[in-house]
Assembly symmetry: C2
């Protein structure tokens, strides 16, 4: 006890600043803890969920499965065959939505998909069909797939097929088109459709044969490497793309005429984001493995359709908890500005749900710098994510944090209790259909998704 | 002045610990500066060199030229054509040396080169010829080339040719063979010679045509990117290799049958060090641009032949300042240990001379971790290098240090004054000829190289 009196006092203040300020005014050093009370009105729910005797084990099992999931690229196939997608059906990113409530970029991408499928001769006719309800819309997530930005998948598009042999899981994603005027950002001009036709006719089949000749590609191992190489796996996928290209090129060279090999190598090599569409289904496999465990408060989906942000939670089955999506803040391309940006869109927040993307910002300070932040901001962001996650993924180790594992397994209760929201890196789509990409930046989900999920967990909680 | 009395004192102690210890014993915080007196007997020389009226301008010009140098891969050619190397002539790494004084790995590589050139039918006959002085030995640096490890170049080997158009400079380096049992580590078994023959017959000509079809490849731009991707450009060249492969593959695909394309893609893709042999001549171009400026104390060469470490300095012309090479410390492959390691060997310290490699350790903490250090060690190493360098290279920005430029332009006077030696990352060759690689680690040059250089600068100093 005497030690307490012999040395300088250590003062730690949590909560409102007035207490810390008073101590500081007396020339005493004070450590300020950024503590906030839980979201208003959630005390009883938090207590009930915390008291659920299944919770600890259920969450341990959920994150254990999330970390144990593998992800191998095993095939590249048309969505019709891989996903059973039929003519007149389209998949989209985020929670379920109707044409009436769909944002500009999602509408643009749906229109483009009908043009690609020759289901409509003009954009106007496509819009009419969509408005009339002639086309069946369904979230990618409902079929085990994920789609970046608008995330529209039509039957003729080729998709990568990834397998998690440990949990017998399968996930799919389309091939990445590149940046700028592309379908996933809501553009549907002739150059967009022409590129998609080339991808269907040339790129998809070439990759399919290369993957078949190569055998399974360990996508999880590539993610492991890329987070050591400045990629956070959401807004930056440069090293990942290069490693994929390296792995597939020898077999690609042996299966196609040289002009096609050169064309495909240029297309993939010229698009630093190509790997995103493999990282996403790998993350989907990890989160899917953690889904459906009664009593677990682990978030297994975060997805946006451009209008709503939706989450799903391991212990609450297939229910979506949705709220209006925020609009990202960041840097704009060319003459575009904040008024041009659509609210947050895409299934790509599956990366953060699995512990990479914004959660490993510390490994990719170039991203934060790109949107006006600094290296310490990047480290702080990742450190903050440990407050709302249940485990660390040693397979995705962050060099700048002494190779600490990525913060993984978002706990709904921790988000509501701390007020700390998951940090998401994202692209920004133009608000108006047909525009394409207008920028890239940072965004968080609305808190309402988490308070709704907590309410549902409370309703299901056992003593 | 009153401010000085009102606040807590700030105590900074430099030099011997006794002063700092006394203050600390009185419970006063003390910042310890790791200061050491200059090397014994160098005071007058340091004063004379510091007083040389040309020094400031000469050093400014030297580092300005070092930073302004470009490096484009413009051709791949046999050394006979590129370097005018004739039958019976061999180049080697480091300062000049004779067969008698040559270390095991250098001897092994020289023997292997004679077997490759069909100048000797057996290793024994090759040794006899070398011992008899039938073969002319010359440092790579004397012809504007650089060679990793033993650095042996024979006429039939294909070399990359890099150009610095700004200063009309040209530099060359052989193609990287991969790791393990390879000529540059002193191995010369049948598999080594067979690989070299394939490189001469297939790899070199294929890359030559690819580069010609592609046009100049901006090697400096790749280095700029790779230091953002966990590569320090000496012991780690993974991202650099992938980017080179991406840039050349489309044209490679168009110029060769698919089996050759696949073979070359596998060879380069399977060797994370392939880019080292492009980074080295790029660094040579930068340092060569800074060479030969009267009054400049900037180091323009650091190179080792396995026996001696040699440096050259901008203001002292072509003189080498040599001393016995240290033996690296680090991690050993398989059952190898410290007794198996040869002293430091290779021209690859040109990377540190140009400000990358060990100087940007902060960007590649995986390297330090590999040899038993930590992330803070990596940051400290780079920070220490700012103490002995004259400028920072903004083109090689280090993310972990808030994108501070690489510490560039080693000042002989600063090394002698501070006692801080350049940090070099390196591979370790087996001491016995024919062994190959035994490990990788860290090493420093002997201080004697710098004190000798200072002496020469003193002799040339103007008032």
């Amino acid at each position: 006890m005497s030690g307490l009196l012999d040395r300088e006092p250590v003062v730690v203040a949590a909560g409102v600043d007035v207490l810390a300020d008073a101590v500081a005014a007396q020339a005493v050093e004070v450590v300020r803890v950024d503590w906030r009370p839980p979201e208003p009105g959630t005390d009883a729910q938090l207590a009930a969920v915390a008291g659920d005797h299944r919770r600890t084990d259920a969450n341990a099992r959920a994150v254990e499965r999330m970390l144990a999931a593998t992800a191998e690229l095993v095939a590249v196939r048309p969505a019709s065959a891989a996903l059973g997608l039929e003519r007149g059906q389209l998949l989209h990113a985020g929670p379920p939505i109707t044409w009436e409530r769909a944002s500009g970029p999602l509408r643009g991408a749906l229109v483009g998909a009908l043009l690609l499928e020759d289901l409509a001769p003009t954009p106007e006719e496509a819009e009419r069909m969509l408005a009339a309800g002639d086309i069946e819309l369904e979230p990618c997530h409902h079929r085990g797939a994920v789609g970046p930005m608008a995330g529209v998948v039509s039957p003729s598009m080729w998709v990568v097929e990834l397998r998690d042999e440990v949990h017998d899981g399968t996930s799919w994603c389309t091939l990445n088109e590149g940046l700028g005027k592309v379908l996933r950002y809501g553009a549907y001009g002739p150059e967009v459709i022409e590129r998609l036709r080339w991808m269907n006719a040339v790129l998809g089949p070439a990759l399919a044969d290369a993957v078949e000749a190569h055998g399974p590609v360990d996508v999880r191992a590539i993610i492991s490497q890329m987070v050591q190489m400045g990629d956070e796996g959401h807004n930056r996928n440069r090293a990942g793309t290069l490693m994929l290209l390296r792995d597939l090129l020898p077999d690609l060279a042996l299966s196609r005429p040289s002009t096609v090999v050169a064309e495909v190598a240029r297309f993939i090599g010229g698009n630093d984001h190509f790997f995103l569409n493999l990282g996403m289904p790998a993350c989907k496999l990890a989160t899917a493995a953690a889904h459906g465990i009664p009593g677990s408060t682990v978030v297994t989906t975060m997805a946006r359709n451009g209008t709503d942000f939706g989450i799903r939670v391991s212990g609450t089955g297939d229910s979506w908890f949705t709220a209006p999506a925020n609009t990202p803040e960041g840097l704009f391309l060319g003459a575009y500005g904040p008024d041009d940006a659509n609210p947050d869109i895409g299934d790509s927040a599956i990366t953060e749900t699995a512990g990479i993307g914004g959660f490993v910002m510390a490994t990719a300070p170039a991203i934060v710098r790109f949107v006006g932040g600094s290296v310490p901001d990047a480290l702080r962001t990742t450190r903050r994510m440990y407050e709302i996650t249940l485990t660390e993924n040693g397979a995705f180790a962050i060099p700048a944090l002494e190779f600490r594992g990525a913060p993984t397994g978002i706990d709904v209760a921790a988000v509501v209790r701390t007020g700390v929201l998951p940090q998401i890196n994202t692209g920004m789509a133009g608000r108006v259909a047909g525009t394409g990409q207008v920028g890239a930046g940072l965004v968080t989900p609305p808190m309402a998704c988490f308070t709704q999920a907590l309410e549902a967990l409370d309703a299901l909680a056992l003593g």
